[in-house]
Amino acid sequence: MPFSLLKYGLNKDYPFEKNADLPVPSELKSSYDVVIIGGGGHGVATAYYLAKYHGITNVAILEKGYLGGGNTARNTAVIRSNYLTSEGVKFYSESVKLFKELSNEFDFNIMYSERGQLTLAHTDATVRSFRQRTEVNKHFGGRTELIGPAEIKELVPTLNMNPAHMPVLAGLWHMDGATARHDAVAWGYAKGATQRGVELHQLTEVTDVIVENGKVTGVKTNRGTIQCGCAVQAVAGHSSLVAAKAGFRMPITTYPLQAMVTQPVKPFLDQMVSSSALHCYVQQTGRGEIVFGGGSDPYPLYNTRSTLDLKEGLLAHAIEMFPFMANLRLMRQWTGITDMTSDYSPIMGLSPVDNYYLDAGWGTWGFKATPICGKTMAELVASGGKVPELIKPFAMDRFNVFRQVNEMGATAASH
């Protein structure tokens, strides 16, 4: 062992770029078949599937910051498919299936952990909507049950069954609910994509989108202008701003979303527990920290600042659910900038500009869709604009014909 270590230390070829997980391309080429704007989970997943299934590797991912440094690093890493509409459930179920295989596919542990998600109902109206969600989920092969207070008590003994004087009437028990290490998902996809020849350019900001005769032909960046056959926009909270460079408006409003985590404690909470009436969800990470999240801020803003009022409100509710948490201390807080749509569903597919594809409107629910979104966006790009069935309902056009996909009631913490 000491000798082999010494051999590494004296080896001139090590560390060497060819050994790097993520090769750093030095210069931008003058032209690419596909330019992906945004190096978050969605962007790198799209590049990965383009290279893997469609053999398209002349691809540049342009990221103004660093890989997975935006909402990919800021979400609370919840994976679930217990949505309300059949369009939503079908789409997110495919994502859960892909997530289960990702560690094997990457040969890299994304720490996928199937813990189950429990959503609490405090009113008859919520119980009714849970019944519907249970049936829709089962219909599409998901594992979801409506359970009563006795079963809830057994699943989560530490839960207060009468939080904020709102007795828990029932629970939507979604056994497919899981969590994974969000950074690892982005790294795994980026590694797989770059190994196949995709170029990941960090610290490369798109400053303008070049549109000629209604068709995208290139992008200007802080490192020079490049031509492209087509472009994919996957920039989350900054969707409206990049779309404006391409010359169109989007049905999106950007809100901050704040989350926080406590000091680590012994494992006590296996499930992810949420209550839409209390606008709060709680889960314990593999490290023992307890993550709290809620709804977006009450008004739009492009700022990752922290507010005391949101923390007070959210934590008051979290303590109602798990009273002993009042003794814990907060360790970190952070904010993401979320691109909210009015129907709480994403926008995927074509845009008013030809060959310019949209992956936006992911608001507070983007992480869980990373694999299936990348896969379907890659199909869309590879086919030259033929929208896959699975994402047809999520076209931006749906707002023009008043055919929204309403998932507001299925958010973990209603907004």
Binding site: S240, L241, V401
Partner: protein, 100 residues
């Protein structure tokens, strides 16, 4: 807590206010296309900079207009909606919809 200056009630906690979206010109609902109406209802500039937007002081049910910077969250000015909307808008009723 952040304070907003209500043109009617003076400085109040921001938690008493509800955001109502960007101020924009309403197209004529009887003559505009579906696309124009959808654009008015759902689409927005969502830009970074000083925007003019509707706000509601919920306890008093009072709608007014504010100029606010969407990155710094600085509230530049709040004023009564009559500064911009100084004429009453009558929704034209189509003949077949009118209750006789």
């Amino acid at each position: 807590m952040k304070i907003m200056n209500c043109p009617l009630n003076g400085p109040r906690n921001i938690s008493e206010f509800v955001h109502g979206g960007e101020v924009s010109q309403m197209p004529d609902p009887n003559s505009c296309s579906d696309m124009e109406w959808a654009d008015y209802v759902f689409y927005s500039d969502n830009a970074i900079g000083i925007v003019t937007e509707w706000w509601l002081h919920a306890p008093s049910g009072y709608w007014f207009i504010a100029e606010r910077h969407t990155a710094s969250d600085e509230i530049i000015r709040t004023f009564d909606a009559s500064e911009i909307f100084n004429q009453r808008y009558e929704f034209p009723i189509k003949a077949e919809e009118a209750v006789v």
